[in-house]
Symmetry: C2
Subunit: 310 residues, 2 copies
Amino acid sequence: MSEYSIGLDLGGTNLRAAAVDAKGKMLQKIWATTDLSRGPEAVMEDMAKAIDALRHSLGSQSLHGIGVAVPGFIRLKEGVIMGSNNLAVLEGFPMRDALQTRLDAPVILENDANAAAMGEKWIGAGRDVDDLVLVTLGTGIGGGIISGGRILHGFLGMAGEIGHITVVPNGNPCGCGNHGCLEKHASATAIAGLGRMIGLGDVTSEEVYELAKKGDTRALAVFEHMGRALGMALAVLVNIFNFPLYLISGGPIPAWDVFSIPMMAELKQRSFTYRASKTVVAKAELGNEAGLYGAAYLPWSTETNYVARG
Amino acid sequence: MSEYSIGLDLGGTNLRAAAVDAKGKMLQKIWATTDLSRGPEAVMEDMAKAIDALRHSLGSQSLHGIGVAVPGFIRLKEGVIMGSNNLAVLEGFPMRDALQTRLDAPVILENDANAAAMGEKWIGAGRDVDDLVLVTLGTGIGGGIISGGRILHGFLGMAGEIGHITVVPNGNPCGCGNHGCLEKHASATAIAGLGRMIGLGDVTSEEVYELAKKGDTRALAVFEHMGRALGMALAVLVNIFNFPLYLISGGPIPAWDVFSIPMMAELKQRSFTYRASKTVVAKAELGNEAGLYGAAYLPWSTETNYVARG
């Protein structure tokens, strides 16, 4: 059979692993729960088991490589997870080496937002470009930047922290120490929080959207604020990168028709580069499978960032 | 004699050209006035004459290549100057091809801020890194981004518009159509404007600095505002790029000791990436020769952005 790679995407309560061929066709997928409270070794073992199951099913001979996407910063050369907000229990754990030893095979470790951006570039909404930014709206806001077909890592693998662009200088306080970070004004969590603040009660972001669809002026005001915040951050990105494509994904995407109007208005006003070019802002295509595909792509890429250089 | 390249930096009222060897040693330099009102052909002829003089002096045999830095956006593949605020007369002029025909030699055309960033990377404050951002404070604010040792151009050569990052959402109006652009709050022009607004009279940015040195509280308030604006933009850049080095150059640099304190305070507060890493923010080293060196470097680089791809 033809060669395949294995990608794994680790979330807060579950993991998914998939075997994918060189053209991005998914051959087999595994979904499993994982319990972070059992510690990094146990999580690593859950990951290894899912990878092993695919490897046994499809055969070791045809396995091209293994890519693993996890939340948090990755020290690329060391393959160590650092400063993960959602997965504090994994902080400092040498995940790459532990997996390599357990699996007796090379493993590439990557940040999940970076992997998602690479997935979109490979077979998603970014397949026709070499440069894009992916903004993911969730509990927080993550970002991945693809420049010249490669992930922009920065010198410590911390690049792409789009959720912490200041959009309201004296805005909502953020856990990062700043005020007015994008993710405090435009994430799914922020939408729900703004809804509560404006008197909608104990709502979820989905409920704010349902209210907005019915024409509730307070819910619409929430998405006006959220869209403008996102538009301001997009303007910064467009002015800095002049990339052809900016993708948005995540839970609030169903509300696109509501928030994209103020978002695009703000972007248009704040970026002459946008007005002077055929820059595209669009929904991502792979949803929450983007990180899985991106992780599976990593072994096919020619990047050398993932190995220690002597 | 050893090989050399020729770099030329075109300003609003003058031009400078230099012959530089492969190690960045300047062999000879020419300075000349130029009169933009005489039209693009005449300016091109002034540029060609300066380049010719160096070529005659040092010999065509050893000439490795010619790089030319001009303000404004460059359509890289076509070698055409677009949308230049300061040099409107040159807009749409096919400068690269005109120079190539006149000189009968290949010419690389580049934006001046990008060339300056490359100059600093080559033999200036950035010589030890592969990734940096240069922010130039002048009439406006220009930026150049070096990623992986190469200029980040974006798909139309418009990347690096750092002067148009929004730092005060409802701030001073900008010619670009936005409000609160960095360059309206932190350029040399902005420093003078803020000084006038705060009641210092018809001052220059240098005079605001002289007053600040003497402890004038209004002048100090101007630099407090300017430093905080710059710090906010730096925080955005650090969060997005996670590069090891951010350089600042331009007329207000003598006031570094005054504005860098609020600048660094703002950066520190707004970027956990800065706090978590050994990111360096420093003065550039080459002053207004950076663009000249950077232009001279271009023929030595291996970038392929400058030629039309079929």
